[in-house]
């Protein structure tokens, strides 16, 4: 694998960031209008400054539950598209051979500046860790894939939060204000469907697919997105989701993406302490049970899908996750056919911790 920490110095990457920032200011001027939104994410105020109106409806729905009043920002993200603002982006100073598997740009990922171009979505993400500013650019907002709407700004938030002892992880999270569980595992394990069932129970929902995990003596999960995905063929198992599914979007593989803030805002938690890591598996048995598993099993379920999805993830992220699974007990959540009872099993389990 190419060494993406070699190559151009911080100076070149900073120059590109400044040029991209200047392009945003031109876009904002050309658009004649700008939209500013503020969100409380992971305990920080993140400001989104949009040039024009094309991107906000595509990027804010999954963050609505974290919306907050205007305030001084810990991180400011400048967002725009060339089509609606009629403003070109500065050309890339690197070659077409400089992209890594997650779009990381060789020579433009230095201690201060991070840069990635996601080849699937056509989104440029850049972050200045010194000035706490970031760039989000796409040629045409109309071309933004729906999955980006379900998990917006994933790359930028991963980079910025990592520097603040908050790890973006591939996990669901449900629980109560005084404590909850992470649900971890690969696709098809029952992680997301278990989390969605919390919306029809006494438990609160914090995440379906991605969340922020804060380390330390008492690990804490912060909600990040209030979006969900479900296979169309499974929709009948979640009749309570119909109000949200009425305004959903089709993904491929017959999945639907929906947003929860409007219909389930009262069931979404901003976060809670983590008391256990649960690794769900579908068993086909009658009832749902829990079985203690070693910390290594929790790490195997949690770390790979997190690390291999995120640009620049590696040693530090792995060590962070290892520390968490040593602190928090792990259990196999052996899912039975008693679907409606699953949240109760977890709620009763939380009482014992």
């Amino acid at each position: 694998m190419p060494d993406f920490l070699a190559g151009a110095r911080d100076e070149n990457s900073a120059l590109f960031f400044e040029a991209a920032r200047a392009a945003f200011l031109r876009a904002e001027k050309n658009a004649t209008t700008s939209v500013q939104r503020f969100f409380r994410i992971g305990g920080f105020t993140v400001g989104l400054r949009f040039a024009g109106h094309a991107l906000p409806p595509r990027l804010t729905p999954a963050l609505e539950h974290l919306s907050t009043a205007p305030a001084a920002c810990d991180l400011t993200i400048f967002l725009w598209d060339s089509a609606s603002t009629e403003t070109e982006m500065t050309p890339p100073p690197w070659s077409r051979d400089d992209y890594g598997v997650h779009g990381e740009v060789r020579g433009y990922n230095m201690p201060r500046i991070r840069t990635a171009f996601h080849l699937g979505s056509g989104v440029l993400s850049a972050l200045d860790l010194q000035n706490n500013e970031a760039i989000f650019w796409i040629r045409d907002a109309a071309d933004l894939p729906i999955y980006e709407s379900g998990a917006p700004l994933l790359t930028t938030l991963h980079w910025w939060m990592s520097a603040r002892r908050r790890q973006l992880i591939h996990a669901a999270a449900i629980g109560r204000e005084d404590g909850g569980v992470l649900l971890v595992g690969k696709g098809g394990s029952g992680k997301s469907s278990t989390a969605l069932r919390a919306l029809n129970s006494e438990l609160q929902y914090a995440a379906d697919d991605y969340c922020l995990l804060e380390g330390g003596e008492r690990p804490f999960v912060h909600s990040l997105y209030s979006s969900g995905k479900i296979h169309s063929c499974d929709a009948h198992k979640f009749p309570f989701l119909q109000p949200a599914l009425d305004a959903s979007y089709n993904l491929n593989n017959e999945k639907a993406l929906f947003f929860l803030h409007d219909t389930f805002g009262h069931k979404i938690s901003a976060g809670f302490p983590i008391r256990a890591v649960l690794c769900p598996t579908v068993t086909g048995r009658e009832t749902t049970t829990l079985r203690k598993i070693p910390a290594s099993a929790s790490l195997l379920a949690l770390a790979p899908s997190t690390i291999f999805q995120l640009p620049g993830a590696g040693h530090n992220d792995f060590s962070f996750l290892s520390e968490v699974v040593r602190r928090v007990p792990g259990y196999a959540l052996e899912l039975g056919r008693d679907y409606e009872n699953i949240p109760r099993v977890i709620a009763d389990f939380l009482e014992t911790l």
Partner: protein
């Protein structure tokens, strides 16, 4: 078989990251997307590798720590060392400073004769389900400014109903 007192091993690359627990070692290869669970006596073997022990010392340490036939322990250890090399996780030779040692939270194995646990042959489980995430597509087209043309990894999205607008 004559065990070598000259052959030591080291972790092959900085991209091999690992964490050692009491029951097993979790190993992740950041280059290939493969990850592993090394159980049984494999954890003790891995500790000995990271400590710079040679082949003969590794077997001697396991024989001192576990109850079981020495010949069985030797054969199983050599099989594991061979497998770890085939997976490009270790290489013969001394470690340098760049391949940092695993974090080890494991409990030292009791060696008093009556407390020796029974030897369990090392088991290396390999998982490759994440490899697809590391496949690099060469870029074929760029626009006039040099930006790559997106390659959609999801086809056109079709709203099921009219989108809820947000401002």
């Amino acid at each position: 078989m004559q065990l070598s007192s000259l052959t030591t091993y080291s972790v092959s690359r900085p991209q091999i990251i690992r964490e050692q627990f009491d029951e097993e070692v979790v190993i992740v290869d950041l280059d290939t997307g493969s990850y592993y669970a090394l159980g049984g006596a494999g954890g003790a073997v891995w500790s000995a590798i990271e400590a710079g022990h040679n082949q003969a010392q590794i077997v001697a340490q396991l024989a001192a720590s576990y109850s079981g036939e020495v010949a069985e322990i030797e054969a199983a250890t050599l099989r594991l060392l061979d497998e770890l090399q085939r997976e490009a996780l270790i290489v013969p030779g001394a470690a340098d400073s760049t391949n940092g040692a695993a974090q080890d939270g494991s409990t030292p194995i009791a060696t008093a004769e009556g407390d020796k646990p029974a030897f369990e042959a090392p088991i290396l489980q390999k998982f490759t389900d994440m490899q697809a995430l590391l496949l690099l597509d060469p870029i074929h087209e760029v626009d006039s400014a040099g930006w790559p043309q997106p390659k959609p990894d999801e086809p056109e999205m079709i709203p099921v109903a009219a989108p809820a607008t947000q401002g």
